[in-house]
């Protein structure tokens, strides 16, 4: 169940996932949001290596549909993959 309503206008193709990149991840990856066709067996690392082969993932976490996940778990039916750099709220 995607968690960001704003990123889902209209029907999404089953093979598509929305990628979100925040703060320093946005700077490094060069996008804040984009849609990508994926194979549901792909992992976040597979996907990242496809779009940014040289990206440094140190200190970078991932979330699938607003739940922290890890680089090696297949995205499965998730509709949203977020790249989460170290946080600094407050």
């Amino acid at each position: 169940m995607p968690c960001s309503d704003s990123t889902h206008t209209g029907s999404m193709d089953e093979s598509e996932i929305t990628l979100l990149a925040f703060a320093s991840a946005r700077e490094n990856l060069g996008f804040s949001t984009r849609s990508l066709a994926v194979n549901r067996a792909e992992t976040p690392l597979d996907i990242l290596r496809r779009i940014a082969p040289d990206a440094n993932i140190e200190n970078l976490r991932v979330a699938l549909d607003c739940e922290f996940s890890d680089w090696h778990t297949p995205v499965g039916h998730a509709r949203e993959l977020a790249f989460i750099p170290p946080v600094s709220g407050g």
Partner: protein, 126 residues
Amino acid sequence: MIIAIHFTTDPIVIPRSSLPNREIGAVVEFHGIVRELESAAPIDGLNYEAYEPMARKVLEKHLLDLHAIHGCDAVHFIHRLGWVPVGEASLYLRVMSSHRAEALRFLADAIDRLKLDVPIWKISTT
């Protein structure tokens, strides 16, 4: 426990304080203010951004965990997003409880957890 989580791009307005029950003996407030130095460099302010739906989810889970540890009756959380000038608040937190000890501990732990993994970021523009 009553949990209120708000994000705003406006200056934070302190919410009216209504006691959830007559057993409340402690109301603890915290204002996180933007300071004029960031990593020893002078700034005019900070930009904040959040992955809001996930921030709400992660924060609520933390607050529920802290309720299980400390008790407490109500927590009100406001985080300002976008540009926050020096001297203004980016964060407001209020905890209500019967006694001060758990309210103070809840508040301190909540801020620690906020800075652990709640997807909110400050971006200084120096």
